[in-house]
Amino acid sequence: MIINKIGKVTIDTAFHLGRCCLMIKRMFFWLFNSKLEKKEVMKQTVRIGIESVGVVILTSLFTGMVLALQSGYTSKNLFNEPLYVGTVVGFSLVKELAPVLTAIVVSGRAGSSVTAEIGTMVITEQVDALYTLGTNPSTYLLIPRYIAFLIALPILTLFANVVGILGGFLVSYIKLGISSTVYFDDIFQYMEVKNFFHGFIKTFFFAFAIATISCYKGFYATGGAEGVGRSTTDSVVISMIMILAIDYFVSSLLVIIGIT
């Protein structure tokens, strides 16, 4: 019984991975063999990027604030003084929290909408219509969304870095009485360009993963409206898990190659 289940899960996983790889292969084929749909790229970048700005700002602002609060009071308890608050906030955000949280927020906000949209297009034959009108879903749907995620996520992460650090400063200044000079000195004295790139590089991996999962789940949605709903939920859950897994493995890789 258990062996049957394990076998079924293994076969299903291999099947989905294989189909997903074929989708990525098609995307790359058409990326180099068709004209880029610039208008669609713009439209999707606005949709995925600009429409996620608000929620990314709120998430990173409060993350920066709570980081400053926790590290400041912990340090106060241990050393009677809030030491290195800027350093803790800066490093945590730039290397880990801003890229990961932004990716999670974008997967929930934009990834789900991509899955729902493509899934609906599949079940209403709009995807078939693309073939009959001289184009194909890879050129018209996949490539613009991949590019949009790859443009939007790194930029949103930059926003999240800035806003999070400012949030941390707000709490440091108001609640902990740390001056702006000390707070920002704590960040820039210790932070190197490679620390920034450690987080920034990861956003491209996250963007690729979100685009792949959300498009894949949309393209293979079955079972009408209920099926599209299920695919949308799956897309968000799988994206979140994959973001965390990719974060670990890419971080390890970056450490090995010296981008720490």
């Binding site: 209403t124 078939d128 219509a129 009959t132 009108l133 001289g134 184009t135």
Partner: protein, 248 residues
């Protein structure tokens, strides 16, 4: 001319299309009728390879569609076709004229500045005026079907495939669509393949009617001969469809 030879499509070990062979002549309206789930839409989608059949040949103007390997070659043949989907398959994110002119960019060399004019012309051809800037969700079912038809013929295809063109429409909208298919065939000289449950459509405007059952064409003949068919299944299907049409 479309020549179909030994076309077979299998879904989960069930033969949905079972060794079908038929010639569809230039300029004719070839209508396929039959009970639900007998493979009518599968046949239509196979013709332009939206579905890949397991065996057979679909020869379109001398080119076997199923032997084509690259998507570019398939696309070249698909250019000859317009396809009216059952529910229109209009793009919700675009307005009416953007939908109608969508394929022009890929299927024609028409200057982009003229897209709106082409869209207007095709919309007029299907009896719609002043709807160019409407969103798709502002249209009625009949209007959606007509917009979808305008989109299907925007690039002046040689063949038009209709998947249940009158399903879900009221009798007046249904008659408008039937007239449009007839006019399209007469005025634009297009070859039409119509898949339908609408027995009235099948028997009034078709050049030939094919009755599909269990993946096979039970009979392919003129509407008059189909009406007087000696085949029991055909007779039963037509009389049942007439009764169902009347009661609906």
């Amino acid at each position: 001319m479309i020549e179909v030879r030994n076309l077979t499509k299998i879904y989960s070990s069930k033969k949905v299309l079972d060794d079908i062979s038929v010639d569809i002549r230039d300029g004719e309206i070839f209508t396929i009728i039959g009970p639900s789930g007998t493979g009518k839409s599968t046949f239509l989608k196979s013709v332009i390879r939206l579905i890949n059949p397991e065996y057979g040949k679909i020869i379109i103007d001398g080119v076997d569609m199923l032997s084509l390997k690259s998507e570019f070659e398939i696309q070249k043949v698909r250019k000859k076709f317009g396809y009216l989907f059952q529910d229109g398959a209009l793009f919700d994110s675009l307005n009416v004229w953007e939908n109608v002119s969508f394929g022009l960019k890929y299927l024609t060399n028409i200057d982009e500045k003229k897209y709106l004019d082409v869209a207007r012309e095709k919309l007029e051809l299907v009896g719609l005026k002043g709807v160019e800037y409407k969103k798709i969700n502002e249209l009625s079912g009949g209007m959606k079907k007509r917009v979808a038809l305008a989109r299907a013929i925007a690039h002046n295809p040689r063949y038009v495939l209709y998947d249940e063109p009158t399903t879900g429409l009221d009798p007046i909208s249904s008659d408008i669509i039937i007239d449009l298919i007839k006019n399209m065939s007469e005025k634009l000289k297009v070859t039409s393949i119509v898949v339908t449950h609408d027995i009235k459509l099948a028997l009034t405007i078709s050049s030939r009617v094919a009755v599909l059952n269990s993946g096979k064409f039970v009979e392919v003949d003129t509407p008059q001969n189909i009406k007087n068919s000696s085949n029991e299944f055909v007779r039963d299907f037509i009389s049942t469809s007439f009764i169902s049409n009347i009661t609906n």
